[in-house]
Amino acid sequence: MMAPVCKLREFLRYLGEASIRYARESLYAAGYVFEIHKRTFRFLRHIQPKYGYRVFIMQMLFTGFEALWIIAVISLALGALIIIQGRSLLIQVGQGTLVYPILIMVITRELGPLLTAFVIIARSGTAMATELGYSVVSHEIEAYVSFGINPIGYLIVPRFLGVTVSMVILNLYFNIFGLLGSFIVTQFIKPLQMNEYVDNLLSYLTPADVFSSLLKSFIFGAIIACTATYYGFRVERSPTEIPQMAIKAVSRSFILCILADAAITLVYYI
Protein backbone atom coordinates (compact mmCIF):
# COMPACT_ATOMS: atom_id res chain seq x y z
CA MET A 1 0.00 0.00 0.00
CA MET A 2 2.88 2.30 0.84
CA ALA A 3 4.78 1.68 -2.42
CA PRO A 4 2.26 3.37 -4.79
CA VAL A 5 2.01 6.38 -2.46
CA CYS A 6 5.81 6.72 -2.45
CA LYS A 7 5.94 6.46 -6.25
CA LEU A 8 3.25 9.09 -6.59
CA ARG A 9 5.12 11.37 -4.19
CA GLU A 10 8.35 10.87 -6.18
CA PHE A 11 6.55 11.62 -9.41
CA LEU A 12 5.00 14.77 -7.98
CA ARG A 13 8.37 15.88 -6.62
CA TYR A 14 9.97 15.31 -10.02
CA LEU A 15 7.16 17.23 -11.69
CA GLY A 16 7.49 20.13 -9.27
CA GLU A 17 11.28 20.31 -9.59
CA ALA A 18 11.10 20.17 -13.38
CA SER A 19 8.48 22.93 -13.45
CA ILE A 20 10.59 25.13 -11.19
CA ARG A 21 13.69 24.42 -13.30
CA TYR A 22 11.89 25.30 -16.54
CA ALA A 23 10.37 28.42 -15.00
CA ARG A 24 13.83 29.54 -13.81
CA GLU A 25 15.34 28.83 -17.24
CA SER A 26 12.52 30.66 -18.98
CA LEU A 27 12.93 33.67 -16.72
CA TYR A 28 16.68 33.62 -17.25
CA ALA A 29 16.18 33.39 -21.05
CA ALA A 30 13.64 36.22 -20.96
CA GLY A 31 16.11 38.36 -18.99
CA TYR A 32 18.83 37.46 -21.50
CA VAL A 33 16.66 38.48 -24.46
CA PHE A 34 15.71 41.69 -22.70
CA GLU A 35 19.37 42.46 -22.03
CA ILE A 36 20.23 41.86 -25.73
CA HIS A 37 17.49 44.24 -26.86
CA LYS A 38 18.51 46.88 -24.33
CA ARG A 39 22.14 46.69 -25.45
CA THR A 40 21.05 46.70 -29.12
CA PHE A 41 19.22 49.99 -28.65
CA ARG A 42 22.34 51.43 -27.03
CA PHE A 43 24.44 50.11 -29.93
CA LEU A 44 22.11 51.69 -32.47
CA ARG A 45 22.09 55.00 -30.61
CA HIS A 46 25.91 55.12 -30.98
CA ILE A 47 26.53 55.03 -27.25
CA GLN A 48 29.13 52.34 -27.95
CA PRO A 49 29.72 52.89 -31.68
CA LYS A 50 33.26 51.69 -32.25
CA TYR A 51 33.95 48.26 -30.99
CA GLY A 52 31.01 46.30 -32.37
CA TYR A 53 30.86 47.62 -35.93
CA ARG A 54 33.49 45.28 -37.41
CA VAL A 55 31.87 42.27 -35.73
CA PHE A 56 28.51 43.32 -37.20
CA ILE A 57 29.94 43.63 -40.74
CA MET A 58 31.72 40.27 -40.50
CA GLN A 59 28.57 38.63 -39.20
CA MET A 60 26.60 40.00 -42.17
CA LEU A 61 29.30 38.80 -44.54
CA PHE A 62 29.28 35.26 -43.14
CA THR A 63 25.57 34.94 -42.46
CA GLY A 64 24.17 36.95 -45.36
CA PHE A 65 26.50 37.21 -48.31
CA GLU A 66 28.08 33.75 -48.04
CA ALA A 67 24.67 32.07 -47.79
CA LEU A 68 23.35 33.88 -50.86
CA TRP A 69 24.18 31.14 -53.35
CA ILE A 70 22.42 28.49 -51.26
CA ILE A 71 19.33 30.66 -51.00
CA ALA A 72 19.44 31.38 -54.74
CA VAL A 73 19.60 27.70 -55.68
CA ILE A 74 16.80 26.69 -53.30
CA SER A 75 14.46 29.52 -54.29
CA LEU A 76 15.07 29.13 -58.03
CA ALA A 77 14.35 25.42 -57.89
CA LEU A 78 11.31 25.85 -55.66
CA GLY A 79 9.80 28.65 -57.76
CA ALA A 80 10.36 26.78 -61.01
CA LEU A 81 8.80 23.62 -59.58
CA ILE A 82 5.71 25.47 -58.39
CA ILE A 83 5.24 27.18 -61.75
CA ILE A 84 5.73 24.04 -63.81
CA GLN A 85 3.69 21.67 -61.68
CA GLY A 86 1.07 24.22 -60.66
CA ARG A 87 0.39 25.38 -64.19
CA SER A 88 0.18 21.85 -65.58
CA LEU A 89 -2.35 20.90 -62.94
CA LEU A 90 -4.40 24.09 -62.73
CA ILE A 91 -4.75 24.57 -66.48
CA GLN A 92 -6.58 21.24 -66.62
CA VAL A 93 -9.35 22.68 -64.46
CA GLY A 94 -9.34 26.04 -66.26
CA GLN A 95 -7.71 27.91 -63.34
CA GLY A 96 -4.21 28.54 -64.72
CA THR A 97 -3.95 31.98 -63.11
CA LEU A 98 -4.22 30.45 -59.63
CA VAL A 99 -0.55 29.56 -59.95
CA TYR A 100 0.35 33.20 -59.12
CA PRO A 101 -1.40 33.40 -55.72
CA ILE A 102 -0.01 29.94 -54.93
CA LEU A 103 3.48 31.12 -55.85
CA ILE A 104 3.11 34.19 -53.65
CA MET A 105 1.66 32.22 -50.78
CA VAL A 106 4.41 29.61 -50.86
CA ILE A 107 7.44 31.72 -51.75
CA THR A 108 6.67 35.06 -50.15
CA ARG A 109 4.51 34.29 -47.18
CA GLU A 110 5.50 30.83 -45.99
CA LEU A 111 8.52 28.98 -47.33
CA GLY A 112 10.63 32.06 -48.13
CA PRO A 113 11.14 33.16 -44.53
CA LEU A 114 11.09 29.62 -43.15
CA LEU A 115 13.63 28.08 -45.55
CA THR A 116 15.91 31.10 -45.19
CA ALA A 117 15.69 30.67 -41.43
CA PHE A 118 16.56 26.98 -41.72
CA VAL A 119 19.62 27.78 -43.85
CA ILE A 120 20.76 30.40 -41.34
CA ILE A 121 20.18 28.07 -38.39
CA ALA A 122 22.19 25.35 -40.09
CA ARG A 123 25.06 27.65 -41.07
CA SER A 124 25.24 30.52 -38.60
CA GLY A 125 23.27 29.25 -35.61
CA THR A 126 25.61 26.33 -35.08
CA ALA A 127 28.67 28.49 -35.79
CA MET A 128 27.68 31.14 -33.26
CA ALA A 129 26.84 28.61 -30.53
CA THR A 130 30.13 26.79 -31.07
CA GLU A 131 32.22 29.98 -31.21
CA LEU A 132 30.69 31.38 -28.04
CA GLY A 133 30.99 28.00 -26.31
CA TYR A 134 34.75 27.95 -27.05
CA SER A 135 35.03 31.54 -25.78
CA VAL A 136 33.48 30.43 -22.48
CA VAL A 137 35.68 27.33 -22.21
CA SER A 138 38.84 29.33 -22.97
CA HIS A 139 37.86 31.98 -20.37
CA GLU A 140 37.66 34.76 -22.97
CA ILE A 141 34.37 35.93 -21.54
CA GLU A 142 35.93 36.29 -18.10
CA ALA A 143 38.76 38.29 -19.69
CA TYR A 144 36.26 40.69 -21.31
CA VAL A 145 34.49 41.15 -18.01
CA SER A 146 37.80 41.75 -16.22
CA PHE A 147 38.58 44.50 -18.75
CA GLY A 148 35.17 46.05 -18.07
CA ILE A 149 33.74 45.12 -21.44
CA ASN A 150 30.20 43.84 -21.41
CA PRO A 151 30.27 40.52 -23.34
CA ILE A 152 26.66 40.93 -24.46
CA GLY A 153 27.31 44.42 -25.81
CA TYR A 154 30.51 43.38 -27.58
CA LEU A 155 29.93 39.78 -28.66
CA ILE A 156 26.18 39.31 -28.86
CA VAL A 157 24.63 42.59 -30.06
CA PRO A 158 26.65 42.81 -33.33
CA ARG A 159 25.86 39.15 -34.01
CA PHE A 160 22.21 39.67 -33.15
CA LEU A 161 21.98 42.64 -35.52
CA GLY A 162 24.05 40.92 -38.20
CA VAL A 163 21.90 37.79 -38.20
CA THR A 164 18.60 39.69 -38.07
CA VAL A 165 19.49 42.11 -40.89
CA SER A 166 21.01 39.27 -42.95
CA MET A 167 17.88 37.22 -42.46
CA VAL A 168 15.68 40.07 -43.79
CA ILE A 169 17.98 40.70 -46.76
CA LEU A 170 18.33 37.01 -47.59
CA ASN A 171 14.55 36.66 -47.47
CA LEU A 172 14.28 39.50 -50.00
CA TYR A 173 16.74 37.69 -52.26
CA PHE A 174 14.79 34.45 -51.77
CA ASN A 175 11.66 36.25 -53.02
CA ILE A 176 13.46 37.86 -55.94
CA PHE A 177 14.98 34.58 -57.07
CA GLY A 178 11.88 32.58 -56.26
CA LEU A 179 9.41 34.88 -58.04
CA LEU A 180 11.44 36.30 -60.91
CA GLY A 181 14.44 34.00 -61.29
CA SER A 182 12.25 30.94 -61.51
CA PHE A 183 10.55 32.53 -64.50
CA ILE A 184 13.87 32.35 -66.35
CA VAL A 185 14.28 28.70 -65.40
CA THR A 186 10.74 27.98 -66.58
CA GLN A 187 11.53 29.44 -70.01
CA PHE A 188 13.72 26.44 -70.73
CA ILE A 189 10.92 24.00 -69.95
CA LYS A 190 7.54 25.67 -70.47
CA PRO A 191 7.86 29.15 -71.98
CA LEU A 192 5.66 31.93 -70.60
CA GLN A 193 5.13 35.50 -71.77
CA MET A 194 7.20 37.89 -69.63
CA ASN A 195 4.50 40.61 -69.58
CA GLU A 196 1.80 38.15 -68.67
CA TYR A 197 3.89 36.66 -65.88
CA VAL A 198 4.98 39.94 -64.29
CA ASP A 199 1.54 41.59 -64.63
CA ASN A 200 -0.25 38.64 -63.06
CA LEU A 201 2.31 38.31 -60.31
CA LEU A 202 2.16 41.99 -59.40
CA SER A 203 -1.61 42.04 -59.50
CA TYR A 204 -1.78 39.25 -56.91
CA LEU A 205 1.08 40.46 -54.70
CA THR A 206 -0.19 42.73 -51.93
CA PRO A 207 1.68 45.00 -49.50
CA ALA A 208 0.37 42.73 -46.73
CA ASP A 209 2.24 39.79 -48.29
CA VAL A 210 5.48 41.77 -48.44
CA PHE A 211 5.02 43.09 -44.91
CA SER A 212 4.19 39.65 -43.54
CA SER A 213 7.26 38.16 -45.19
CA LEU A 214 9.58 40.88 -43.87
CA LEU A 215 8.09 40.68 -40.38
CA LYS A 216 8.55 36.92 -40.27
CA SER A 217 12.15 37.12 -41.44
CA PHE A 218 12.91 39.82 -38.86
CA ILE A 219 11.40 37.77 -36.02
CA PHE A 220 13.07 34.55 -37.19
CA GLY A 221 16.42 36.37 -37.35
CA ALA A 222 15.98 37.60 -33.80
CA ILE A 223 14.96 34.13 -32.59
CA ILE A 224 17.95 32.44 -34.25
CA ALA A 225 20.45 34.98 -32.90
CA CYS A 226 19.07 34.90 -29.36
CA THR A 227 18.78 31.10 -29.23
CA ALA A 228 22.23 30.40 -30.69
CA THR A 229 24.03 32.89 -28.43
CA TYR A 230 22.02 31.78 -25.38
CA TYR A 231 23.08 28.15 -25.81
CA GLY A 232 26.64 29.24 -26.61
CA PHE A 233 26.80 30.93 -23.22
CA ARG A 234 25.22 27.88 -21.54
CA VAL A 235 28.53 26.01 -21.99
CA GLU A 236 30.24 25.95 -18.60
CA ARG A 237 33.71 24.35 -18.55
CA SER A 238 34.08 21.26 -20.76
CA PRO A 239 34.64 21.35 -24.55
CA THR A 240 32.36 18.29 -24.82
CA GLU A 241 29.44 20.54 -23.85
CA ILE A 242 29.93 22.63 -26.99
CA PRO A 243 28.44 20.23 -29.58
CA GLN A 244 25.62 19.38 -27.17
CA MET A 245 24.71 23.01 -26.82
CA ALA A 246 25.08 23.56 -30.58
CA ILE A 247 22.58 20.76 -31.23
CA LYS A 248 20.21 22.24 -28.64
CA ALA A 249 20.55 25.65 -30.26
CA VAL A 250 19.63 24.22 -33.66
CA SER A 251 16.66 22.16 -32.47
CA ARG A 252 15.23 24.95 -30.29
CA SER A 253 15.67 27.46 -33.10
CA PHE A 254 13.75 25.24 -35.51
CA ILE A 255 10.90 24.77 -33.05
CA LEU A 256 10.71 28.43 -32.09
CA CYS A 257 10.79 29.56 -35.72
CA ILE A 258 7.96 27.21 -36.70
CA LEU A 259 5.87 28.26 -33.68
CA ALA A 260 6.48 31.92 -34.47
CA ASP A 261 5.55 31.28 -38.11
CA ALA A 262 2.28 29.67 -37.07
CA ALA A 263 1.51 32.52 -34.69
CA ILE A 264 2.20 35.23 -37.29
CA THR A 265 0.17 33.37 -39.93
CA LEU A 266 -2.74 33.06 -37.51
CA VAL A 267 -2.60 36.77 -36.74
CA TYR A 268 -2.46 37.49 -40.50
CA TYR A 269 -5.65 35.51 -41.13
CA ILE A 270 -7.53 36.66 -38.02
Binding site: I57, M58, M60, L61, G64, F65, L68, Q92, V93, G94, Q95, V165, I169, L172, Y173, I176, V198, D199, L202, S203, L205, T206, P207, V210
Partner: protein
Protein backbone atom coordinates in the same frame (compact mmCIF):
# COMPACT_ATOMS: atom_id res chain seq x y z
CA UNK B 1 44.35 39.19 -46.17
CA UNK B 2 41.59 37.48 -48.03
CA UNK B 3 39.71 39.65 -50.54
CA UNK B 4 36.37 39.12 -48.84
CA UNK B 5 37.70 40.04 -45.42
CA UNK B 6 39.53 43.10 -46.75
CA UNK B 7 36.49 44.47 -48.58
CA UNK B 8 33.87 43.11 -46.18
CA UNK B 9 32.18 46.50 -45.68
CA UNK B 10 31.89 47.13 -49.43
CA UNK B 11 30.59 43.65 -50.14
CA UNK B 12 28.02 43.87 -47.38
CA UNK B 13 27.04 47.37 -48.58
CA UNK B 14 26.42 46.18 -52.14
CA UNK B 15 24.64 43.08 -50.84
CA UNK B 16 22.24 45.24 -48.79
CA UNK B 17 21.85 47.97 -51.41
CA UNK B 18 20.75 45.61 -54.17
CA UNK B 19 18.13 44.11 -51.85
CA UNK B 20 16.81 47.55 -50.89
CA UNK B 21 16.67 48.69 -54.55
CA UNK B 22 14.88 45.48 -55.53
CA UNK B 23 12.35 45.94 -52.73
CA UNK B 24 11.72 49.55 -53.73
CA UNK B 25 11.34 48.58 -57.40
CA UNK B 26 8.87 45.81 -56.56
CA UNK B 27 6.82 48.19 -54.39
CA UNK B 28 6.75 50.85 -57.13
CA UNK B 29 5.76 48.28 -59.78
CA UNK B 30 3.09 46.95 -57.45
CA UNK B 31 1.76 50.47 -56.98
CA UNK B 32 1.61 51.07 -60.73
CA UNK B 33 0.08 47.67 -61.47
CA UNK B 34 -2.49 47.86 -58.69
CA UNK B 35 -3.34 51.54 -59.37
CA UNK B 36 -2.61 52.72 -55.81
CA UNK B 37 -2.76 56.35 -56.85
CA UNK B 38 -5.39 56.15 -59.62
CA UNK B 39 -8.93 57.58 -59.32
CA UNK B 40 -11.80 55.17 -58.72
CA UNK B 41 -15.50 55.89 -59.25
CA UNK B 42 -17.82 54.37 -56.66
CA UNK B 43 -21.31 52.97 -57.34
CA UNK B 44 -23.86 50.88 -55.48
CA UNK B 45 -25.98 47.90 -56.43
CA UNK B 46 -28.34 45.45 -54.77
CA UNK B 47 -28.63 41.69 -54.90
CA UNK B 48 -31.15 39.19 -53.59
CA UNK B 49 -28.45 37.25 -51.75
CA UNK B 50 -24.88 37.81 -50.63
CA UNK B 51 -23.86 34.22 -51.34
CA UNK B 52 -20.78 34.19 -53.53
CA UNK B 53 -20.21 37.93 -53.17
CA UNK B 54 -17.15 39.05 -51.25
CA UNK B 55 -15.06 42.11 -50.64
CA UNK B 56 -12.38 42.54 -53.27
CA UNK B 57 -14.30 40.47 -55.82
CA UNK B 58 -13.55 41.71 -59.31
CA UNK B 59 -16.16 43.12 -61.71
CA UNK B 60 -15.60 42.06 -65.29
CA UNK B 61 -16.69 43.56 -68.56
CA UNK B 62 -16.00 41.57 -71.73
CA UNK B 63 -13.32 39.62 -69.89
CA UNK B 64 -11.54 42.69 -68.49
CA UNK B 65 -11.44 43.54 -64.82
CA UNK B 66 -12.97 47.02 -64.58
CA UNK B 67 -13.52 47.31 -60.85
CA UNK B 68 -13.90 45.60 -57.50
CA UNK B 69 -16.37 45.31 -54.63
CA UNK B 70 -15.36 47.37 -51.61
CA UNK B 71 -18.27 46.87 -49.17
CA UNK B 72 -21.15 44.44 -48.70
CA UNK B 73 -23.95 44.93 -46.19
CA UNK B 74 -27.54 43.89 -45.53
CA UNK B 75 -30.15 46.63 -45.83
CA UNK B 76 -33.26 47.14 -43.69
CA UNK B 77 -35.29 45.67 -46.58
CA UNK B 78 -33.15 42.50 -46.38
CA UNK B 79 -31.51 43.15 -49.73
CA UNK B 80 -27.76 42.81 -50.05
CA UNK B 81 -26.25 46.15 -50.99
CA UNK B 82 -22.75 46.34 -52.38
CA UNK B 83 -20.47 49.28 -52.87
CA UNK B 84 -18.00 48.92 -55.68
CA UNK B 85 -15.65 50.99 -57.75
CA UNK B 86 -15.04 51.27 -61.47
CA UNK B 87 -11.55 52.21 -62.65
CA UNK B 88 -11.17 55.66 -64.16
CA UNK B 89 -10.31 54.35 -67.63
CA UNK B 90 -13.51 52.25 -67.75
CA UNK B 91 -15.85 54.76 -66.08
CA UNK B 92 -16.90 56.36 -69.44
CA UNK B 93 -18.36 52.96 -70.39
CA UNK B 94 -20.85 53.06 -67.51
CA UNK B 95 -23.93 54.21 -69.45
CA UNK B 96 -27.43 54.60 -68.08
CA UNK B 97 -29.41 51.33 -67.75
CA UNK B 98 -26.25 49.32 -67.17
CA UNK B 99 -26.72 46.28 -64.93
CA UNK B 100 -24.64 43.81 -62.92
CA UNK B 101 -24.99 40.05 -63.08
CA UNK B 102 -23.65 37.61 -60.51
CA UNK B 103 -22.87 34.14 -61.79
CA UNK B 104 -21.63 31.47 -59.41
CA UNK B 105 -19.97 28.14 -59.93
CA UNK B 106 -21.62 25.05 -58.49
CA UNK B 107 -18.24 23.39 -57.94
CA UNK B 108 -16.97 26.03 -55.55
CA UNK B 109 -14.50 27.70 -57.90
CA UNK B 110 -15.92 31.10 -57.01
CA UNK B 111 -18.12 33.24 -59.16
CA UNK B 112 -18.07 36.20 -61.46
CA UNK B 113 -19.62 39.59 -61.24
CA UNK B 114 -20.29 40.72 -64.79
CA UNK B 115 -21.04 44.26 -65.88
CA UNK B 116 -23.52 44.69 -68.76
CA UNK B 117 -23.45 48.06 -70.48
CA UNK B 118 -26.62 50.08 -71.17
CA UNK B 119 -27.78 49.76 -74.79
CA UNK B 120 -27.96 53.50 -75.45
CA UNK B 121 -24.73 55.48 -75.42
CA UNK B 122 -25.23 58.19 -72.82
CA UNK B 123 -23.08 60.30 -70.57
CA UNK B 124 -21.36 58.18 -67.91
CA UNK B 125 -23.42 57.65 -64.77
CA UNK B 126 -22.49 59.98 -61.95
CA UNK B 127 -20.44 58.63 -59.10
CA UNK B 128 -22.42 57.02 -56.24
CA UNK B 129 -25.30 56.21 -58.63
CA UNK B 130 -27.30 53.02 -58.28
CA UNK B 131 -26.72 50.28 -60.87
CA UNK B 132 -29.35 47.52 -60.63
CA UNK B 133 -28.52 43.85 -60.71
CA UNK B 134 -30.26 41.06 -62.60
CA UNK B 135 -31.15 39.50 -59.23
CA UNK B 136 -33.86 42.08 -58.70
CA UNK B 137 -36.94 42.97 -60.83
CA UNK B 138 -35.63 46.40 -61.84
CA UNK B 139 -32.59 44.85 -63.53
CA UNK B 140 -34.65 42.18 -65.29
CA UNK B 141 -37.10 44.86 -66.42
CA UNK B 142 -34.27 46.69 -68.21
CA UNK B 143 -33.33 43.46 -69.98
CA UNK B 144 -36.95 42.79 -70.97
CA UNK B 145 -37.23 46.27 -72.42
CA UNK B 146 -34.00 45.77 -74.35
CA UNK B 147 -32.34 48.71 -72.61
CA UNK B 148 -29.20 46.80 -71.75
CA UNK B 149 -26.73 44.88 -73.87
CA UNK B 150 -26.42 41.37 -72.50
CA UNK B 151 -23.29 39.90 -73.98
CA UNK B 152 -23.64 36.41 -75.39
CA UNK B 153 -21.44 33.96 -73.59
CA UNK B 154 -18.66 32.47 -75.67
CA UNK B 155 -19.20 29.06 -74.20
CA UNK B 156 -21.42 26.84 -76.35
CA UNK B 157 -22.99 25.01 -73.41
CA UNK B 158 -23.66 28.23 -71.57
CA UNK B 159 -25.24 29.68 -74.70
CA UNK B 160 -27.55 26.69 -75.04
CA UNK B 161 -28.45 26.88 -71.36
CA UNK B 162 -29.09 30.61 -71.68
CA UNK B 163 -31.52 29.90 -74.49
CA UNK B 164 -33.25 27.05 -72.72
CA UNK B 165 -33.50 28.75 -69.35
CA UNK B 166 -36.27 31.28 -70.16
CA UNK B 167 -38.27 28.55 -71.92
CA UNK B 168 -37.97 26.30 -68.91
CA UNK B 169 -39.00 29.14 -66.66
CA UNK B 170 -42.10 29.79 -68.77
CA UNK B 171 -42.97 26.09 -68.82
CA UNK B 172 -42.55 26.00 -65.08
CA UNK B 173 -44.87 28.99 -64.65
CA UNK B 174 -47.42 27.40 -66.97
CA UNK B 175 -47.35 24.14 -65.07
CA UNK B 176 -47.72 25.97 -61.80
CA UNK B 177 -50.78 27.84 -63.16
CA UNK B 178 -52.29 24.60 -64.46
CA UNK B 179 -51.67 22.95 -61.14
CA UNK B 180 -53.38 25.77 -59.29
CA UNK B 181 -56.36 25.70 -61.67
CA UNK B 182 -56.76 21.94 -61.48
CA UNK B 183 -56.54 22.02 -57.71
CA UNK B 184 -59.32 24.59 -57.70
CA UNK B 185 -61.39 22.46 -60.09
CA UNK B 186 -60.84 19.43 -57.95
CA UNK B 187 -62.26 21.16 -54.90
CA UNK B 188 -65.30 23.15 -56.03
CA UNK B 189 -67.30 22.72 -52.85
CA UNK B 190 -64.78 24.48 -50.71
CA UNK B 191 -66.64 27.72 -51.18
CA UNK B 192 -63.64 29.90 -51.46
CA UNK B 193 -62.53 28.51 -54.86
CA UNK B 194 -63.22 30.32 -58.12
CA UNK B 195 -65.68 27.70 -59.36
CA UNK B 196 -67.51 27.77 -56.05
CA UNK B 197 -67.86 31.50 -56.43
CA UNK B 198 -69.21 31.05 -59.96
CA UNK B 199 -71.80 28.53 -58.76
CA UNK B 200 -72.85 30.82 -55.96
CA UNK B 201 -73.22 33.70 -58.39
CA UNK B 202 -75.23 31.48 -60.74
CA UNK B 203 -77.71 30.56 -58.03
CA UNK B 204 -77.98 34.20 -57.04
CA UNK B 205 -78.45 35.27 -60.66
CA UNK B 206 -81.16 32.64 -61.21
CA UNK B 207 -83.03 33.92 -58.21
CA UNK B 208 -82.71 37.47 -59.45
CA UNK B 209 -83.93 36.42 -62.89
CA UNK B 210 -86.98 34.69 -61.39
CA UNK B 211 -87.86 37.80 -59.41
CA UNK B 212 -87.42 39.93 -62.50
CA UNK B 213 -89.69 37.69 -64.59
CA UNK B 214 -92.32 37.79 -61.88
CA UNK B 215 -92.25 41.57 -61.94
CA UNK B 216 -92.13 41.79 -65.74
CA UNK B 217 -94.95 39.34 -66.39
CA UNK B 218 -97.68 42.04 -67.04
CA UNK B 219 -95.48 43.78 -69.55
CA UNK B 220 -94.62 40.52 -71.29
CA UNK B 221 -98.30 39.60 -71.53
CA UNK B 222 -98.95 42.90 -73.28
CA UNK B 223 -96.17 42.24 -75.74
CA UNK B 224 -97.49 38.73 -76.48
CA UNK B 225 -100.95 40.19 -77.10
CA UNK B 226 -99.45 42.65 -79.54
CA UNK B 227 -97.69 39.82 -81.35
CA UNK B 228 -100.97 37.93 -81.59
CA UNK B 229 -102.59 40.97 -83.12
CA UNK B 230 -99.78 41.30 -85.59
CA UNK B 231 -100.11 37.71 -86.78
CA UNK B 232 -103.89 38.12 -87.06
CA UNK B 233 -103.58 41.22 -89.24
CA UNK B 234 -104.06 40.28 -92.92
CA UNK B 235 -101.85 43.17 -93.98
CA UNK B 236 -99.09 42.49 -91.49
CA UNK B 237 -95.56 41.29 -92.09
CA UNK B 238 -96.11 37.77 -90.73
CA UNK B 239 -99.07 37.23 -92.99
CA UNK B 240 -96.98 38.26 -95.94
CA UNK B 241 -94.17 35.90 -94.94
CA UNK B 242 -96.61 33.00 -94.56
CA UNK B 243 -98.23 33.69 -97.93
CA UNK B 244 -97.66 30.63 -100.26
CA UNK B 245 -96.44 33.09 -102.88
CA UNK B 246 -94.23 34.94 -100.46
CA UNK B 247 -90.42 34.95 -100.15
CA UNK B 248 -90.25 32.50 -97.26
CA UNK B 249 -92.25 29.84 -99.16
CA UNK B 250 -90.00 30.32 -102.14
CA UNK B 251 -86.95 29.94 -99.95
CA UNK B 252 -88.25 26.79 -98.29
CA UNK B 253 -89.55 25.14 -101.49
CA UNK B 254 -86.20 23.41 -102.32
CA UNK B 255 -87.13 19.69 -102.00
CA UNK B 256 -86.13 19.68 -98.31
CA UNK B 257 -82.43 20.33 -99.01
CA UNK B 258 -82.22 23.07 -96.38
CA UNK B 259 -84.01 20.93 -93.85
CA UNK B 260 -81.75 17.98 -94.63
CA UNK B 261 -78.69 20.16 -94.09
CA UNK B 262 -80.04 21.55 -90.84
CA UNK B 263 -80.90 18.05 -89.73
CA UNK B 264 -77.38 16.84 -90.59
CA UNK B 265 -75.80 19.69 -88.67
CA UNK B 266 -77.96 18.97 -85.68
CA UNK B 267 -77.09 15.27 -85.86
CA UNK B 268 -73.37 16.12 -85.94
CA UNK B 269 -73.82 18.50 -83.07
CA UNK B 270 -75.60 15.83 -81.06
CA UNK B 271 -72.81 13.38 -81.82
CA UNK B 272 -70.16 15.95 -80.78
CA UNK B 273 -72.02 16.68 -77.59
CA UNK B 274 -72.02 12.99 -76.84
CA UNK B 275 -68.28 12.83 -77.38
CA UNK B 276 -67.73 15.89 -75.20
CA UNK B 277 -69.82 14.28 -72.50
CA UNK B 278 -67.78 11.10 -72.78
CA UNK B 279 -64.54 13.07 -72.68
CA UNK B 280 -65.62 15.06 -69.66
CA UNK B 281 -66.56 11.83 -67.88
CA UNK B 282 -63.18 10.32 -68.72
CA UNK B 283 -61.41 13.52 -67.74
CA UNK B 284 -63.20 13.64 -64.41
CA UNK B 285 -62.23 10.04 -63.73
CA UNK B 286 -58.59 10.54 -64.76
CA UNK B 287 -58.13 13.92 -63.07
CA UNK B 288 -56.07 12.64 -60.10
CA UNK B 289 -53.72 10.79 -62.45
CA UNK B 290 -53.33 13.89 -64.66
CA UNK B 291 -52.59 16.00 -61.61
CA UNK B 292 -49.97 13.54 -60.49
CA UNK B 293 -48.49 13.47 -63.99
CA UNK B 294 -48.29 17.24 -64.13
CA UNK B 295 -46.66 17.39 -60.72
CA UNK B 296 -44.07 14.80 -61.79
CA UNK B 297 -43.49 16.73 -65.00
CA UNK B 298 -42.92 19.91 -63.06
CA UNK B 299 -40.40 18.21 -60.77
CA UNK B 300 -38.62 16.71 -63.79
CA UNK B 301 -38.38 20.14 -65.42
CA UNK B 302 -36.96 21.61 -62.21
CA UNK B 303 -34.39 18.82 -61.96
CA UNK B 304 -33.43 19.32 -65.62
CA UNK B 305 -33.02 23.02 -64.90
CA UNK B 306 -30.62 22.22 -62.04
CA UNK B 307 -28.68 19.79 -64.24
CA UNK B 308 -28.37 22.34 -67.04
CA UNK B 309 -27.27 25.01 -64.57
CA UNK B 310 -24.68 22.58 -63.20
CA UNK B 311 -23.48 21.86 -66.72
CA UNK B 312 -23.29 25.54 -67.51
CA UNK B 313 -21.24 26.28 -64.39
CA UNK B 314 -19.01 23.25 -64.70
CA UNK B 315 -15.51 24.59 -65.43
CA UNK B 316 -14.41 21.21 -66.76
CA UNK B 317 -17.03 21.35 -69.51
CA UNK B 318 -16.63 25.12 -69.94
CA UNK B 319 -13.03 24.61 -70.87
CA UNK B 320 -14.04 22.33 -73.69
CA UNK B 321 -12.59 18.93 -74.27
CA UNK B 322 -8.92 18.52 -73.41
CA UNK B 323 -6.96 17.51 -76.48
CA UNK B 324 -5.65 13.98 -76.21
CA UNK B 325 -2.03 13.23 -76.66
CA UNK B 326 -1.56 10.24 -78.90
CA UNK B 327 0.94 7.96 -77.18
CA UNK B 328 3.02 5.91 -79.56
CA UNK B 329 2.49 2.20 -79.21
CA UNK B 330 5.20 0.22 -77.48
CA UNK B 331 4.55 -2.89 -79.52
CA UNK B 332 6.48 -2.92 -82.75
CA UNK B 333 6.38 -5.25 -85.67
CA UNK B 334 9.14 -7.80 -86.06
CA UNK B 335 9.44 -7.11 -89.73
CA UNK B 336 9.97 -3.35 -89.64
CA UNK B 337 12.74 -1.63 -91.52
CA UNK B 338 15.30 -1.68 -88.72
CA UNK B 339 14.80 -5.37 -88.15
Amino acid sequence: MKFKIQFASEIVGIFALIAIIALATILIMMGINQRWFARNYYYTSRFASGKGLEQGMSINFKGFEIGRITDIYLTDENDVEIKFYIQDKYQPKVFENSVLQHTSSALGFGGDLIFHQGAQQTNPLEEFSYIPSLDLPEGRYLVTRGLVKIARDEDAITRVVDDVEPILENVNQLLLSLNTTLTALNDPGAGDSALGDVMKNLVRTTGDLSAFLHQARPGLNAIIDNLGNMTGDSRGLVTKLLDPKGSLATLLDDNNRLFDQIEGILRDAAYSMGEVRGFSTTFTTARPQILELLEEGRQAVRLSQDVLEGLRNNPLLSGGITPRLEAPTTQQGYRDEVF
